[in-house]
Subunit: 623 residues, 2 copies
């Protein structure tokens, strides 16, 4: 066994924040064209260099006059003035207004010399004087319908301060001031290096036998870097070629303000990082007292800052958001308002025993009263689905060992626009239900099985439970829709083992693959075995269970089993043989507390179109 | 006078919303690489095509065993098993685990055949058996420290639904599933054409005499298009060359899903738009009963939708946000959550007389109790500073003719991350104060003069009033800081008219330029004239007033006046001559109700550094 480094003297989360904040990753300010500055942050104060408008400007279509000439004018007794010319917007006036004269003027045009007001055209008419004179039906005061030079913003005035985030509105003011090149805070460049011999970029094939998996962290962390206002630079992943890792760390440190590596907190990768840091920088922190993510490294690599993130995606992203994103936002000058919190009640108790601060990923759902329920999402450190099943994180003190159901907690949302799902569905994994969700905005479907659905319903969590099989909920529910699905045994195409029914599984040379006990289909299967008098213990592989509805069929398809518990729809989709055993009813059951939720209504509407969905799925029928 | 089109039969805002929504501007879905999909919206459901993980995977560093072999193991009485090999992550196991054996295994590696659990290395030690055996100090159950194939997400499961906004978290799941090319909603292409002979792109020089102004709408609307999820295409502005406008509308209609023009609702431009619409499309709407923005056009131009926006920037952006942005967001599949509202109390009463729905731009400020005060921002339709002085819009019914002070209103924020300014300062335009604000996050400074500051203080609006001159506030205030500024007469360099003091302005051949009466400096000037026995009526140009502190000096600098009321600092900045008259005290006075506001504290801190600021400003002294 190689010498494994231990993480002693863990830093507290507060120390880790301070150390990361002390890394100066702010690049030099730069200048960008105005059509490329949206979302950037002003590096310096912008004072107005010109008056806006730069001249006394007509703000209506009408006639430029001397206000004194309109005294006493009314609709009944208009003042008639000869029109001595016309001024259009964008053209220098070739006429002035003397006492007793008027000049036609367009909105935006320069007020001609001599005039001090504009009378809107609606308050005038052509006079009957035969000379093209204009009859004024109202008196005006000096300055009426005129925007004076500098009235909007005057040269020398403070227009925008340093640190201002540039939105379309600031772009409007910068345009008005003629600022075509905008001084902005630099964008910190963040190199992303992921390590691990088992990693394969998405799009390339995986060798499952060699334990290959797709590289999740590179694109995820790169996207999170950009969300925080940095520019991500992806480096090819280094595998376990440590010379290569060393080269890439050095290159990234030369090119970037901050280098992030993930997965490099494993023992042997750490050696490489140590080596590079010893030669070229400082190690400032090794290990934080936090879960997930204890093995975090912080240091300097030459001119760049360095943070080593954990390898598991949820841990990597959580540590990134907690410690690194604030530093990137600060360097980019982005306001902290991008973080947002909500409070809610825990749907269920949760026990801890770590002695470390815990960042618990949680999902949210609005209960019938519109209050937010919070539930932990923990599918294990390696799970990537936790990323999308969670809405934010609850920070639990190192001293807290138990949070009770109903306790109020504060959730830091992943982003301010996170909202609880419109409808939270828990229960049986069913392809028809999954399709129905396509017609609903922002649903969430935790397809963890009928029994799990009923259990969470007891906690008051889901809006809707999807159920199949003989079990019934212990609470009252309202049926939104029901359908049947044909189930049986999936076998290789041509049914080479000649399986004809359940009895052929017992004491036979057939490797079977089952579903987990949370599945309603598994309960239906068990009941059918009982009725057929088949002893489960006589089925080879009865205890071999896989989680999702299509998993047994896929196991058979790749030759790892001779028969599996499946739906006709799965067998048909994968071009496998199918031995029908029966049909089971599937129901979408609403939590009565949530009957009025808009998302439940939308789901109900989507499910009224069942017949359309059923047509595409062999073995499905509208019940 | 050319024939002016009247806007009869105005549509209601609701009708306008419906008509714009009926324009189908959604482009075809497309496929983008995973490293370019952040912020996009999934066009279709993504089901898992593979199991994740694709194999039974060790989730800890340790030893792969048969769980049954560890029964009874404890620290005191460990079970010792011979180690028969090692499996690393990313490598196919070349060994299996038979009964009574163990295999060293790394996190992420494939569980070798025969094993059903992993014992973490921390719960083991090297045995003293001299054969390199491993002593297990704990018993484990089948599945412990193993993530089963498909446990994260199983092939065939629904992973992400259509309409999902892609954030780093979804990118994580897509990566895990190996989805390198992501099916997303298309980005609507929006052409932006602005018209008006007086418009000059920012960066090019303006001819003020010809009434030229910078083109504000092009970049502002383009940025707003991109904020809403569209792709903006800027077309060169057409001036009043209507053949050119016609050509550009046709080109834009060929290239884009939606064409926006601004300023083209003027009478003669409308003729062109009509002509193009008549030939190639339909006019669906002409005029909405709303202020600002009545003259809105909606129609079709061949395959593209068309919306004509008003020419004034605030009107154009307001109409865009209200009617057009929702259609772009819908087409891009962006969630509505990007709109956000707050409620607050009106700081002052507001009267209306329009008979049209009014979209009133408003600013926000938190009062001492943390409640939101709302105040109208209306600097006239042509003002671009209203864009940045406002935080959102209050929709006022056509039937409402009066909103009372204290009335509760709902403000639609310009974006969800808008927050009230940290500190709202109203009052004297002072360059030292403007510089001090550089040290404060998110301040707002309405430099409308001392008198305006005192008046708004009576309404309870500002956090801080900047005051100079002899006037005193009628309410109690807390002085944050005070300084003095030297003032006098700015004259051309070399003082050609040989002005030596106030008395030289009277009955002399000197064209003077004054400040507006709201200015504290003007009050100081008036008091000095009185003391010097100078009759204001004897000063040529006494009534000629300009608004900002630097404006008289700029007027003198460009030769439009012989002397002006100014600060020594302004004369020095512009290299002009200066005749000193006196020094006036400037004070930053906090609203006592707001003493505890963080922004007031931050401003107070910034002002304690006065001596540094004073050093850069000739004539300034720390008082």
């Amino acid at each position: 066994m190689t010498d494994r480094k231990e993480f002693r003297d863990l830093a507290s989360p507060e120390e880790a924040h301070e150390i990361v904040a002390s890394l100066d990753i702010a690049p030099k300010p730069e200048t960008v064209p105005i059509d490329d500055c949206r979302g950037r942050v002003l590096a310096e104060r912008v004072d107005a260099g010109i008056d806006v408008p730069g001249f006394d400007r007509a703000s209506m279509d009408g006639y430029a006059v001397r206000a004194a000439d309109t005294v006493g004018a009314s609709e009944r007794d208009p003042v008639v003035l000869p029109r001595v010319g016309t001024v259009h917007a964008g053209v220098e006036p070739d006429v002035s207004v003397e006492a007793g004269e008027c000049v036609e003027i367009s909105t935006g045009a320069v007020l001609p010399d001599g005039a001090d007001a504009v009378v809107p055209v609606e308050r005038t008419r052509e006079a009957d004087d035969g000379n093209g004179g204009i009859a004024f039906e109202t008196a005006v005061a000096p300055g009426d319908s005129v925007m004076a030079a500098g009235a909007d913003v005057a040269a020398g005035e403070r227009a925008l301060g340093p640190g201002t985030r540039i939105t379309p509105r600031e772009i409007g003011l910068l345009s008005a001031l003629g600022v075509a090149e905008v001084p902005v805070r630099g964008t910190p460049t963040v190199g992303v290096v992921s390590t691990g011999d088992e990693l394969v970029r998405p799009g390339e094939p995986l060798d499952h036998r060699a334990g290959e998996i797709h590289d999740v962290n590179s694109y995820t962390i790169a996207a999170a870097v950009e969300e925080a206002g940095g520019e991500a630079v992806l480096y090819p992943h280094a595998g376990d070629d440590y010379d290569e890792l060393e080269r890439q760390l050095r290159t990234a440190a030369d090119d970037c303000d901050l280098v992030l590596s993930s997965g490099s907190t494993s023992a042997s990768a750490v050696d490489v990082v140590y080596r590079v840091i010893e030669e070229r920088g400082d190690l400032l922190l090794h290990g934080v007292s936090i879960k997930p993510g204890k093995p975090m490294l912080v240091g300097r690599l030459g001119g760049a800052a360095y943070v080593g993130l954990p390898g598991y995606p949820v841990s990597a992203l959580t540590i990134f958001r907690t410690f690194v994103a604030p530093a990137i936002r600060e360097a980019a000058g982005r306001p902290e308002s991008e973080r947002a919190t909500v409070t809610g009640r825990l749907a269920d108790g949760e026990r801890y025993g770590q002695g470390r601060t815990r960042l618990m990923p949680v999902g949210l759902v609005a209960d019938g009263a519109g209050e937010t329920l919070v539930y932990p999402v923990d599918k294990g450190s390696g799970a990537t689905t936790s990323l999308v099943d969670a809405d934010g994180v609850v920070e639990v003190d190192a001293d807290t060992d138990y949070l009770a159901a109903g306790e109020r907690v504060t959730v830091e949302l992943f982003s301010p626009d996170v909202r609880p799902p419109a409808v939270l569905c828990v229960g049986e994994d069913d392809p028809l239900f999954a399709r129905a969700l396509d017609g609903v905005r922002e649903p969430r479907y935790l397809a963890t099985g009928t029994r799990t659905g009923f259990r969470r319903l007891r906690d008051g969590l889901p809006d809707v439970v999807v159920a199949s099989g003989p079990d019934e909920p212990d609470a009252a529910t309202a049926e939104l829709a029901a359908w049947t699905r044909e189930w049986g045994l999936v076998v290789p195409a041509g049914n080479p083992a000649d399986v004809s029914g359940l009895v052929d599984l017992a004491d036979a040379d057939v490797d079977f693959v089952n579903r987990t006990t949370a599945s309603g289909l598994r309960a239906t299967f068990d009941a059918a075995l009982d009725e057929a008098g088949v002893d489960p213990a006589a089925i080879r592989g009865y205890e071999r269970t896989v989680r999702a509805h299509e998993s047994p069929a896929r196991t058979v398809a790749r030759g790892d089993a001779d028969a599996g518990l499946a739906l006709r729809a799965s067998a048909a989709k994968l071009d496998l043989g199918f031995v029908s055993v029966g049909a089971e009813r599937v129901r979408a059951l609403a939590n009565p507390d949530r009957a009025d939720k808009a998302g439940v209504g939308a789901l109900g509407d989507a499910l009224t179109g069942l017949s359309g969905l059923v047509a595409d799925l062999p073995g499905y029928e509208d019940a």
